[in-house]
């Protein structure tokens, strides 16, 4: 398969970026999107040019490092996958593919397609945990947890922190990311103890970092590689309002 790639190139955080056009040919349809970029980078290295920088690590859809906005969609045209799990068979031979970095004020571009997502760490730092120290905890089976609640908590906990929700949202809102963590703990008795403080601190941090506001458009849910549901945002709203009002 042959493709024309239009890729965002930017030397560093302060440089003014631009789109560059590249051609890759003879790509196998079983090739993953990132392997296709590897092939492009090999071509660039052969020509003594600077390869395209992009974040990637596990290449099996779990670390959340990849952050490519492909043809208008975070992680590209396939659903429920990250860019590393996207295969070229999802494109048509001869396609032009536009690759951009995540765009959001709290995700500044570092280089080319690499963005700084440390704001997500700041949000977790503000309260995305159960405040217990190592040791001195009760036996794991002391508190039975209804299976359905544990499953809902797991649905939320599946978040890989890639930031596709922010990238997809027209408002660059981080609500789905925050909701996933708040919701996970809200469903478990261990997390309920400090549920109020947690939700207030995490929402305050999210606002402070300059993410947009949620307008319930649902783009986050549609693009989330782990298919985290909007119902978690409703739960976040509920948790927040009950913490504030009640």
């Amino acid at each position: 398969m042959d493709f024309t790639l239009k890729i965002w190139r930017q030397e560093n955080a302060s440089a003014k970026g631009r789109f560059e056009t590249y051609k890759v040919t003879g790509i196998s349809s079983d090739c993953s999107f990132l392997e296709m970029l590897d092939i492009l980078n090999q071509q660039l290295i052969d020509k003594f040019e600077i390869p395209v920088c992009f974040d990637h690590d596990c290449r099996e859809g779990i670390c959340g490092a990849c952050s490519l906005y492909i043809n208008g969609r975070p992680h590209g045209p396939d659903s429920a996958v990250t860019a590393c799990q996207l295969h070229m068979r999802k494109f048509k031979d001869g396609d032009t593919i536009i690759v951009e970095p995540w765009r959001a004020r709290p995700f500044p571009v570092i280089k080319d397609l690499v963005v700084d997502r440390s704001s997500f760490d700041r949000i977790i730092e503000a309260g995305g945990y159960v405040s217990i120290n190592t040791g001195g905890v009760p036996d794991a089976n002391t508190i039975p947890i209804p299976r359905a609640n544990a499953e809902t908590a797991m649905d939320a906990a599946a978040c890989i922190g890639c930031g596709a929700c922010v990238a997809a949202c027209k408002n660059a809102s981080a609500m789905l990311f925050v909701a996933a963590k708040v919701s996970q703990f809200a469903m478990l008795p261990q997390g309920r103890v400090e549920a109020k403080e947690r939700v207030m601190r995490m929402v305050a941090k999210m606002d402070e970092l300059g993410f947009g506001n949620c307008t319930n458009t649902g783009a986050c849910e549609a693009e989330c590689p782990k298919q985290i549901s909007l119902s978690h945002i409703a739960r976040l709203n509920r948790e927040y309002l009950s913490a504030r009002v009640l």
């Binding site: 043809n71 208008g72 458009t217 693009e223 739960r235």
Partner: protein
């Protein structure tokens, strides 16, 4: 720590409460309007309009209603500006995820509805309140503004009818997202009941906006 009125979720709370309040107001407004075409005379409509214009409780409600509108608009604009600021550099190719379609145009539909509101208020509300350019009618020995006649005269003009119909279609787009969105913002989400709320939202939107649209059409063609 931010407070309930300034945090992102707090602002959404305000948006949704004000929005739901306006949703209720639309039903009341529609009920009165329908009386104009259902009844044989303008009497019920004019009396209702009079009651709405003079009753002290309604006067208070009127202020709350204006407050509701202002709050909804203020927060809407405020949120939108913040949302634009959250993405200073836009994408070359915008996201086209399959989601609630109308949700992407809430600020645009809102702007049109605001323009409509201004014109609407100038046409009827302010005419009756300030300018006194309204003919009078007498029922049971008391004088009432004959707003009914004013309305009917207005809707005999084809361009006005079209303008109203277009604006209500825009309102429908706004409501199609807004109705269920308000419940989501309030955290009222449930596996069983959310589909019901969504369906109610669609029924409400169709019923209310069709009702409002029916009036000018009916007047233009049949009255």
């Amino acid at each position: 720590m931010s407070n309930i009125l300034t945090s992102s979720i707090g602002k959404k709370l305000m948006m949704s409460l004000a929005g739901l309040f306006l949703v209720i107001f639309l039903i009341v407004h529609l009920a009165i309007n329908l009386s104009l075409i259902i009844a044989d005379t303008h009497e019920p409509f004019n009396k209702a309009a009079h009651f709405m214009g003079t009753n002290i409780v309604i006067k208070v409600m009127e202020i709350i209603l204006f407050g509701g509108f202002l709050l909804h608009m203020f927060y809407g604009v405020f949120l939108q500006i913040q949302n634009w600021m959250a993405r200073p550099k836009r994408y070359r190719k915008e996201n086209y995820s399959q989601t609630s379609f109308f949700s992407k145009f809430m600020i645009h539909t809102a702007a049109i509805i605001t323009v409509f509101l201004v014109i609407h208020l100038l046409d009827f509300y302010l005419k009756a309140k300030l300018f006194g350019e309204v003919p009078m009618a007498i029922y049971d020995g008391r004088e009432y503004h004959d707003l009914g006649t004013l309305v009917i005269n207005k809707f005999k003009i084809g361009s006005v009818v079209i303008f109203y119909i277009v604006c209500f279609m825009i309102l429908a787009f706004h409501l199609l997202h807004g109705f269920q969105s308000a419940f989501q913002s309030l955290g009222l989400e449930h596996k069983k009941y959310t589909p019901v709320i969504r369906a109610l939202g669609v029924i409400y939107t169709v019923f209310v906006t069709a009702g409002f649209m029916l009036i000018p059409v009916y007047i233009y063609f049949w009255m």
